[in-house]
């Protein structure tokens, strides 16, 4: 079902004219209210009043994650705090976390787009939605929640964790839609099986899965094990949160980007040059309706391509293909963003010399398992086993404390970590196999 038929199926020309009008307004607004953008535009010798066509957007500078960190916490906000009704933050990376704000109208827009997304994934107002995305600073839980209410569905705000209770709720409350990370959902299915409950006998018809990359193979596994339509959802807090793009249950082939609110571009990550439709590169977003936190040409670092072909569902919005990778080496482990550089800075708190380390990610019983191999340098070494074991424990609790992700630290011999052209191979992700 199409929630917002007027906008979601709008003919291309009408859509582009709305985009242009909204883009102009957004550029003018950030130019006058956000010093960061004003200075950056001026440095590029460009004014928002120069914009004539949508292609003129390409003349504007990119915004990066680092820009957001540099303006921590509120430097990128385009409205006074009086107008901000909600704050979310991404998991803190090496430096500051990225903080985003929403006005009441932003929250309403987000809820509407999430309602569109749930609807595209097969939900209706008659459905009961089991929302197992985490509630909190992370946008997943609350994003879905407001969308579900906007749609008029019944939402169970179960959040993450407490797996056994979740399964009892699934059995007794009979939810028909599940929203969660795909890996956690498979974990739920495993635990359910141990409890003697078969997911296929539950009432689910669709699962809206996101917050971590997943594959076509995983779709087959999810659909087979859980007996539901597995739908991919995309979003990021810098742009809004979940509900930036969604697959339709009719095609399940690429995610429709809500183009009346976001303008996507695909660029060559090396040169910054905009690539034609269909080519693979880095996804870049400009928001054109956000009030508190508009963002211009934000480099997501996600690698994908755009598909302009008309879709059988009737939506006119462009589709992005599954995210196939990252331009940086970010890992998503149980929904938490992890950069190898963060692990490095934790290790360096203990060892004065820069350690050689490697992150190995596996998926066991449907859960992501992170192992950090650390080469034993002389400054870390001790002739006593208990010291070495304590060191492993300390490093692993430091990682948990600073990154919020559980990891097993394993000491390994020097030079045992594979080097590629002299550089240590930092990440081995076995989940993709």
């Amino acid at each position: 079902m199409i929630f917002d038929i007027e906008y979601e199926t709008m003919p291309r020309e009408a859509l582009e004219s709305i985009q242009l009008q909204r883009l102009k307004a957004t550029l003018e607004r950030v130019f006058s209210t956000v010093p960061f953008y004003r200075e950056k535009f001026k440095a590029c010798g460009i004014s928002p009043y120069d914009i004539q066509t949508l292609d003129d957007l390409q003349k504007f500078p990119f915004t990066t994650k680092q820009d957001l960190r540099d303006n921590y916490p509120y430097g990128m906000f385009a409205v006074p705090m009086d107008n901000v009704v909600r704050i979310h933050a991404s998991s803190g990376t090496t430096g500051n976390p990225t903080v985003v704000g929403y006005t009441a109208r932003d929250i309403n827009t987000w809820a509407t787009l999430m309602a569109r997304a749930l609807s595209a994934g097969g939900a209706t107002r008659g459905d009961i939605i089991h929302n197992a995305y985490g509630y909190g600073l992370f946008t997943g839980g609350l994003g879905v929640h407001y969308g579900a209410e906007k749609l008029g569905a019944s939402v169970i705000p179960v959040s993450g964790g407490n797996t056994k209770r979740q399964i009892i709720i699934m059995k007794d409350f009979k939810p028909t839609i599940i929203t969660a990370t795909p890996s956690y959902t498979l974990h739920l299915a495993e635990v359910a099986k141990e409890m003697g409950i078969d997911f296929r006998e539950l009432s689910f018809k669709s699962g809206i899965f996101g917050a971590e990359p997943w594959s076509e193979n995983m779709r087959n596994e999810l659909e087979e094990t859980l007996h539901l339509h597995a739908i991919d959802i995309y979003g990021l807090s810098e742009v809004m949160g979940p509900g930036v793009a969604i697959e339709c249950v009719e095609a399940k082939k690429g995610l429709h980007i809500f183009e009346d609110h976001f303008i996507p571009e695909i660029i060559n990550p090396e040169t910054g040059e905009v690539l034609p439709y269909g080519e693979t590169g880095e996804l870049v977003f400009t928001t054109i309706t956000k009030e508190a936190f508009p963002i211009i040409r934000y480099r997501t670092r996600d690698i994908t391509s755009l598909n302009r072909e008309p879709c059988i569902c009737g939506r006119s919005h462009v589709r992005m293909n599954r995210v196939s990778g990252r331009t940086d080496d970010m890992l998503i482990i149980r929904g938490v963003n992890v950069f190898p550089s963060q692990i490095e800075s934790v290790l360096m708190k203990t060892d004065v010399i820069k350690p050689h380390y490697q992150l190995v990610v596996d998926r066991k019983d449907q859960l992501d398992i992170l192992t950090v191999n650390v080469e034993v340098s002389e400054s870390l070494f001790s002739d006593e086993i208990k010291d070495l074991q304590n060191l492993e424990k300390k490093l692993s609790s430091d990682i948990k404390e600073y990154l919020g992700v559980s990891a097993t630290v394993k000491l390994v011999e020097p030079k045992s970590i594979e080097r590629s052209q002299g550089k240590a191979v930092r990440v081995i992700d076995n989940r993709k196999k």
């Binding site: 034993v376 002389e378 070494f381 002739d383 006593e384 086993i385 390994v412």
Partner: protein, 143 residues
């Protein structure tokens, strides 16, 4: 009175101990005592060798992490209660043994044990005062 012990970090992988012993053999150094402490993933190989500096350099050159620790070599009477006497003395002096292992060679018709104490100097002091023979390092190594 202190004896220099080498310790080497090794992963629990096939052939790692042999790797260490062949490096030491190649530089013509004799292993006088050896012990392995291990966990499921890694181990620490502790050794008293005839020439610690030479063995250490050779191992480091091959990329091993090598530590040096001062330990104490003590003569243990080769009769019932020989080791017991030493351990009781250490315990009653409020000292602790971190680990110990025995040497392959007999010195003056006595067994020899290598001790790692939590307080090395105090331990040497206590042992010597009680007439328990701590062996000079030149009788254990060639350094």
């Amino acid at each position: 009175m202190r004896v220099k012990q080498l310790s080497v970090f090794i992963e629990n992988k096939e052939g790692r101990i042999a790797e260490v012993t062949s490096i030491i053999a190649e530089v013509n150094v004799n292993i006088r005592a050896i012990s392995l402490a291990d966990t499921s993933d890694f181990g620490v190989l502790r050794m008293i060798v005839s020439n610690a500096d030479q063995a250490r350099d050779a191992l480091k050159k091959e990329g091993f992490t090598v530590g040096e620790t001062d330990v104490v070599a003590v003569k243990v009477e080769d009769k019932p209660g020989g080791l017991n006497k030493i351990l009781h003395l250490i315990e009653s002096s409020g000292l602790n043994v971190e680990y110990m292992y025995s040497m392959a060679r007999i010195i003056d018709n006595s067994a020899v044990m290598i001790f790692r104490f939590d307080k090395t100097d105090q331990a040497i002091d206590v042992l010597t005062k009680s007439g328990l023979p701590v062996i000079n390092k030149n009788r254990v190594t060639d350094d």
